[in-house]
Symmetry: C2
Subunit: 216 residues, 2 copies
């Protein structure tokens, strides 16, 4: 979807700059988090500061374009896993990819916390990702690997949970997230499951996710 925008009557240099910018910014955000300045990114890409804002009217929308790309990639990986022989292993693999993605990218958690989540592009990618997660969860549930009251939307939220638990030790213990993903997955299994104290969000509630009250 990012590609289509590049193919519309865009001049060759503009298309090149846009791609260069996305790649450079993605690398910078992943390494240093979203606090890297636009000036730094522009310099690293070898283009003018103003050019960044010509392609993305705001820093948040640049971050949104990158985040939605990553969500799309995760959704694609999940879709491929729908054909896997073992439904439980497929769901575990999907979550593994998702958590690893967040751990490797310093900006992922930050972007998910802010208004970037409200961006239409991110929203669409998130909706699609949720559908894929739903399909994977359905298969795993029918296979007896997942409790009856857990749905795909829960899975997507729990990706952030496992990543967050391990985040403070990201540098010292890069694989720690596997511990908490394992523990959370044990909680998702039917064995020993107790009724959950709160239902999963309705569609209407999901639609309200990420909108800040003040709009600041």
């Amino acid at each position: 979807m990012t590609d289509t925008a590049e193919r519309r009557g865009m001049r060759a240099d503009a298309a090149r700059n846009r791609r260069l910018l996305l790649d450079t910014a993605a690398a910078a955000f992943a390494e240093h988090g979203m606090e890297v300045s636009i000036a730094q990114i522009a310099a690293r890409a070898g283009i003018g500061k103003g050019t960044v804002f010509r392609h993305f009217p705001t820093k948040q929308r640049l971050a949104a374009a990158i985040l939605s790309d990553q969500l799309d990639r995760l959704a694609a990986a999940g879709t491929a896993l729908l054909d896997a022989a073992d439904p439980e292993a497929a769901l575990v693999e999907f979550m593994t990819i998702g958590v690893e993605l967040q751990i490797r990218d310093r900006s992922f958690c930050q972007a998910a916390t802010t208004d970037v989540r409200a961006d239409p592009e991110v929203r669409a990618a998130g909706d699609h990702l949720t559908e894929v997660a739903e399909a994977l969860t359905d298969r795993a549930r029918r296979h007896g690997a997942v409790r009856a009251d857990v749905v795909g939307y829960d899975i997507v939220l729990l990706l952030g949970a496992a990543a967050q638990a391990a985040a403070p030790l990201r540098e010292a213990v890069p694989d720690l997230w596997r511990r908490y993903l394992g523990l959370i997955f044990d909680g998702m299994r039917p064995e020993g499951a107790r009724p959950l104290p709160h239902p999963t969000p309705t569609d209407a509630q999901r639609a309200a996710a990420g909108r800040s009250p003040t709009g600041r």
Copy 2:
């Protein structure tokens, strides 16, 4: 511990300003997150901008003072729960208070992600909190409510996990965190527990938490 600093030969107006500043900043951070400006906080407290930096040399240290206060409060609540009759209910209650605290305070997650975590005051409060969590977990484990391979430090990290899962829907579904805390607690129980793929962090690894590589 914040109080002791106020009692040392501090002038009356300074002590008053310091307290006013902490309260005002805590409220502002909780409501709007750490992106509220120092100027706004100073204005709301009715003191000069420069005075803020006289009390706290940096915005991060102001945030650290507030965060460590909250960690102390949670540790105190946990200590009180060590006398509770039901060890499982006590641990659940401890985690409930901890997650609720994070959901109510917009700056909590943000501060935990950044260098604020490396602040000595925050570190000390976190160490104490971990000890309390350890004691609560030991009791619950002996009572058969918690699996053998989960320790107090895991509990502290999992507080952030449950909060993070529910964070995007904070406004729309304020109690959603109860769902994910319930699911995580199910994962902590002995029933259906599978070996975790990664050990809990060692003391040395814990000590490295939150230090950024670049020091930026």
